[in-house]
């Protein structure tokens, strides 16, 4: 029983990282922008938040947790949005190829984050490992009354607030996409920009906003990873990049539906950690188990293509730049 609980907990914590990434990416992809820069954007969000916390804790005599919390969240969102802005400018205004631009953004984001992460580690001195214990503690605070509620408390209420924020954001994005006129317009832009343009929708504006806000949300994934998952430290082992690609996989798995990405994220988390709970695995067969999330995604990709259900298909203009005079 304790094993099951600990698997669920591991799955939810892991899932939260990629849930942020996927929800942001769904928003961007719904506007027709296939942003393969998600890992880069998550990197940017993670390092910006960490740097903000580091300088706030270091330069203030009596740092207040809640202020630090707001500062880190704002920094992560803004810097990740800047990454999205570079991508948007190149692909929307300058019509650069989306795949290539996205991959470049991943290279760039990883480079910037690890460069400054390494520098921060050095600036922190001593053991050579930055640690923002106070801010990280604030991120990891659980709801005191609820987390003590036995099994239910352990499964549902033993996480920092960002785990819940991810779920709320997923519902919010789902609501905006499906129930508001803004969402309708956005989906029109992603499906057929020429028609949306003819209907008087500003294609450029929608694409820019969706991609930049989406990048900001994805950036929270990196922030949650640095602040909660690895407890306010930085390591240059490239793990955010792997998680970023899993977030891209999750978008496909969820067939571009934010709500479906919630349980998808936890399923990915469970699949990823499953090897840890299966007795008698050798180290090499563990690696085969870690393939599971990707294999499941491939399966979904094939199923979606096979069934040809209209509402499960990727946005029709995904990956294609829009130029009004070219039909």
């Amino acid at each position: 029983m304790t094993q099951v609980i600990s698997l669920i907990q591991a799955a939810i914590v892991f899932g939260t990282v990629i849930l942020f990434g996927a929800v942001g990416e769904i928003l961007a992809e719904k506007s027709g922008n296939l942003n393969l820069g998600v890992p880069g954007v998550m990197y940017l969000g993670g390092i910006a938040g960490l740097a903000a916390a580091f300088f706030y804790e270091g330069n203030t005599v009596n740092p207040i947790p809640i202020v630090s919390l707001i500062l880190t969240l704002a920094a992560a969102f803004l810097v990740a949005m800047l990454g999205g802005l570079i991508y948007s400018f190149l692909t929307i205004t300058l019509r650069a190829n989306q795949n290539v631009t996205g991959l470049t953004l991943t290279v760039f984001g990883g480079g910037v984050a690890n460069l400054f992460g390494g520098t921060l580690n050095k600036m922190a001195g001593g053991v050579g490992q930055i640690s923002v214990a106070m801010t990280s503690g604030a991120f990891r605070t659980t709801i005191p009354a609820l987390s003590g509620l036995g099994i239910v408390g352990q499964i549902l209420f033993s996480y920092g607030f960002m785990a819940y924020l991810a779920v709320i954001l997923a519902f919010l994005v789902s609501w905006v996409l499906n129930k508001t006129s803004v969402g309708l317009n956005l989906r029109a832009v992603g499906e057929n920009p020429a028609t949306a343009d003819a209907a008087g929708i500003s294609v450029t504006k929608y694409k820019y906003l969706a991609t930049c806000i989406g990048a900001g949300i994805s950036g929270f994934g990196g922030l949650y990873y640095t602040m909660d998952y690895i407890k306010g430290t930085w390591s240059t082992d490239g793990s955010i990049e792997k998680l970023g690609w899993l977030a891209v996989a999750l978008v496909i798995f969820a067939t571009w539906k934010p709500k479906r990405s919630i349980w998808g994220a936890y399923l990915f988390g469970a699949l990823f950690w499953l090897f840890f709970y299966i007795p008698g695995l050798t180290r090499s067969s563990q690696e085969i188990f870690k393939m599971l999330p990707y294999l499941v995604t491939l399966l979904v990709l094939v199923m979606v293509a096979l069934r040809k259900k209209r509402e499960d298909q990727p946005p029709h203009s995904l990956g294609v730049a829009y130029f009004r005079e070219e039909r």
Partner: protein, 371 residues
Amino acid sequence: MSKKHEVASREPLIRMSKRDGIPTWKSIGVRLIGLALALIVCAVIIYSLTKLNPLKVYAAMFKGTFGTNKRVWVTIRDIVMLLCIAVGLAPAFKMRFWNIGAEGQILVGGIAAAACMIYLGKSLPSFALIVVMFFGSMVAGGIWGTIPAVFKARWNANETLFTLMMNYVAIQLTSFFVAKWENPFGSNTVGVINQMTKAGWFPPVFGQMYTLNVIIVAVLTVAMFLYLRYSKHGYEIAVVGESENTARYAAINVKTVIKRTMAVSGAICGIAGFIAVAGASHTISTSTAGGRGFTAIIVAWLAKFNTFTMIAISALIVFLEKGAIEIASQFDLNDFVSEMITGIILFFILGSEFFINYKIRFRGGKKEAGK
């Protein structure tokens, strides 16, 4: 009525239109301006990080890349590696098939090569072993590349996402074999394979370690250029890339072309894995591909599928990486500065493509005759 007229006559500040064509000198000029701007931006960043004269830093980069004979050869080795992958991607991209899966195709090629070295190293003479490794890697990469193509051709599954996922399956597969073959036990690396016998290693040619790497990739580069430009297959690839409907109308079997082209593309990426294992590291790990499968996508795209242009772009990127690593070690930064600089420069080159494909006019500028 009058209001409507006013709206129609107001011209936007900037107007753009697609160019029909651009003289070569102009397109090269635009790219050079982009590159120059990128170097200026990087210089500003380098200055703010290190407070050093950026020109001196660029000089240090040059020295780091070409400083000694050995460095020149390591640089060349890395250039041909990147070039090989980009050459492999060229036919797929020309067909407008987004093969993001080079990373995985390199790895399975590398696994095949390493497996041959480990299991056949004692029983085959070195020359025969290298030939077996070559074909083993080629087939492994080819199969890995054909899988997404089959799903694309048969059920129209999105190839960008499919090949992307295949990378991670390949990475886990590599981890599996690394754990299986690990040597010494507990190190979690395979170590240098056949260190004593050097079975399966590229022999030095003309006294240089990496001559064979260069020869193989040079042959592939020329062959791919000819294949794409002068063969029937190359023509079919071009037609499918431009319009699948046209291809169908011209009685080209689109499905066959897709599968065949991806088999070729994957096979060459597999050969790149073979070169990485047999001709460079003599081991296999998840970093055998090391992100070069992704970098090569950018190379292939920027070169517009011309394999000779790819040489120049690969050289530029490797120069930047080597140079940045050199500054990083000289000025106490970490290696990741190279990724940042590469990213910035690629952003600018990508941006400059716009000015090659589109023309912009400002309001109140000269009116073109006849328009």
